[in-house]
């Protein structure tokens, strides 16, 4: 504070831009570190410690269990459908919202946020009300032999609903800040709509898109509440990894539960590592885009 009153030649200017004392900084960093350590890191560590408590053999054995294998397969399948669907729909919705003016835009924005603000359990219940035997579409679906709820399609739909905002929420602010002029420029230069989309718009948002997709994927694999409502919990058929973790835990199979939990956590961590690695590999390009 006192420093700023004095006139100093530029070369003698304080190295730090802020004027907080060292103590304040240590305190702030300490609080943040402690918080992340206890809230985030410790539980994560517990998962891996608990999983390996009895050594590696029981872990490998628990992955031999056909129900667990089917849960892993189902989770990957659900993510493989839900994430691309959300990437495409999220991209389209963000584009519409960021680049065009239309009636009902605010409503659409609110709707996109809705899955964030309502409990996933409610998202699941909504699907039961819609597709359940006594739901609006239930009788028609069952008379045509189409299974949605308590089957894989219901799980996929619930996951799509819950994870929808991740891509759109990453893209909308970025697209809004980038404006429409680059796309307009591309169009005036004679580019077709698709060419503009793939060569101008997509590259401009690819990092946000990637980040949204990774978050969406982590959440899609980890979704519990909504999936629990629509799954029907049929062993080996409609249990995803999170549901299988609960089942194993309830069966007092703690090693098995923590082994699957560790795998799930590892998959989530892997996506984040992949993101960091990509960022590191393309650091230069990324900086160039941001500075503009």
């Amino acid at each position: 504070m006192a420093m700023s009153d004095r006139l100093l030649p530029l070369s003698h200017a304080p190295k730090r831009a802020t004027s907080e004392t060292l103590l304040t900084r240590i305190l702030l960093i300490g609080i943040a570190g402690l918080f992340l350590g206890t809230i985030l890191f410790l539980p994560l560590l517990t998962v891996f410690v608990e999983a390996t408590r009895k050594g590696w053999t029981p872990i490998l054995e628990s992955f031999q269990d056909p129900d667990t294998r089917s849960a892993i397969r189902l989770t990957l399948l659900v993510a493989a459908i839900a994430v691309p669907v959300n990437a495409v729909i999220g991209l389209a919705a963000s584009w519409a919202i960021a680049k065009f003016e239309f009636r009902g835009k605010n409503l659409l924005l609110t709707l996109i946020d809705l899955p964030f603000s309502i409990s996933p359990v409610i998202s699941g219940v909504v699907y039961v009300l819609l597709f359940g035997a006594h739901g609006w579409l239930g009788p028609w679906l069952s008379s045509h032999g189409i299974e949605i709820i308590f089957a894989v399609p219901g799980i996929v739909l619930a996951t799509i609903l819950v994870t929808f905002p991740f891509v759109a929420r990453e893209l909308i602010p970025l697209m809004q800040s980038q404006g429409t002029s680059e796309e307009e420029a591309a169009l005036t230069l004679g580019a077709s709509g698709w060419y503009t989309f793939f060569r101008v718009m997509l590259p401009n948002v690819k990092w946000a898109l990637l980040y949204g997709v990774l978050l969406c994927n982590a959440r899609a694999m980890g979704e519990f509440g909504a999936v629990s409502v629509v799954s029907g919990h049929i062993r080996g058929l409609t249990n995803t990894m999170p549901l299988q973790i609960e089942i194993l835990y309830n069966e007092y199979n703690f090693v098995g539960a923590f082994a699957v939990a560790a795998l799930l956590a590892a998959l989530a961590l892997l996506t984040l590592v992949a993101k960091s690695a990509l960022e590191w590999m393309f650091a230069g390009e990324l900086a160039a885009c941001r500075r503009h």
Partner: protein, 261 residues
């Protein structure tokens, strides 16, 4: 190459707010015309309507004998320079300038070799030799503006449209670029329409000036004509700054191009 541009009774409103209330303007082939006016006067809307970025509610735009209303943006072949350049941030300078050529359908797309030759030629024209591998973020404002211009010229446009081309630059760079643009126009001879809110810029650069206010053109004429006989009280007020601010010698300089013609 250059064609005359005729704007006939163009109207455009946004919701209930009328931006253009029936504008008619004729621009001769190779002419450099400034659209001048306060903000909200409709000058940018007019420019975008000529470009095809806005669809007029009524009225026509002709490029030569061609009614542009029926043409797609690609078919219009206009060179548009945006106020904030709108360079493709993830492409190099070379990529930016080559964009319009590479985006052509395969049948009309030039070979990579001729694209390269063309881009390098344009880079020489806008004095950016050697910067082809830079990204826009690594350029100064003036350099970016010149990349934007080269990119627009690459598609050999019928008409060159510039939206506040120097609006985001500092005063010194602006002065340099003005002179340079005038020079470039003389060499390439494109029919050029540019938007500005800066009276000095308009009066120094343009062959003719169209002054807009509230969605209508209040007066069109050469700098000398407008200074000598302002058509409306608004024009008198609007150009007052010029007569007052410019020193006699500067005004002399300012009037010279007109006098030469």
């Amino acid at each position: 190459m250059s064609v005359p541009v005729r704007v006939r009774d163009v109207e455009k409103s946004y919701g209930r707010y009328p931006a253009l209330k029936g504008v008619t303007l004729n621009i001769a082939a190779g002419e450099l015309v400034a659209l001048l006016g306060p903000s909200g006067s409709g000058k940018t809307t007019l420019l975008r309507a000529v470009a095809g970025l806005e669809r007029p509610d009524s009225g026509n735009v002709f490029f030569g004998d061609l009614d542009a209303n029926g043409l797609s943006l690609r078919e219009r072949r206009i060179g548009f320079v945006f106020q904030h350049y709108a360079l493709f941030r993830h492409m190099t300078v070379f990529g930016n300038i080559a964009f319009g050529l590479r985006a052509r359908p395969r049948s009309t797309r030039p070979s990579e070799a001729s694209i390269k030759a063309k881009v390098l030629e344009l880079m020489r024209l806008v004095q950016l030799d050697g910067l082809e591998n830079r990204y826009p973020a690594q350029l100064s404002g003036g350099q970016r503006q010149r990349v934007a211009l080269a990119r627009a010229l690459a598609i050999e446009p019928r008409v060159l449209l510039l939206d506040e081309p120097f609006g985001a630059l500092d005063a010194r760079v602006r002065k340099d670029l003005r002179k340079w643009l005038k020079d470039l126009h003389r060499r390439t001879g494109h029919t050029t329409l540019f938007v500005t809110h800066d009276q000095d810029e308009a009066f120094e650069l343009a062959d003719r000036i169209a002054i807009l206010n509230n969605g209508v053109i209040e007066q069109v004429g050469t700098a000398a004509e407008i200074l000598a006989t302002p058509a409306t009280p608004f024009i008198s007020g609007f150009i007052e700054g010029i007569s007052m601010a410019a020193s006699p010698r500067e005004r002399q300089a300012l009037l010279r191009p007109v006098a030469v013609q």
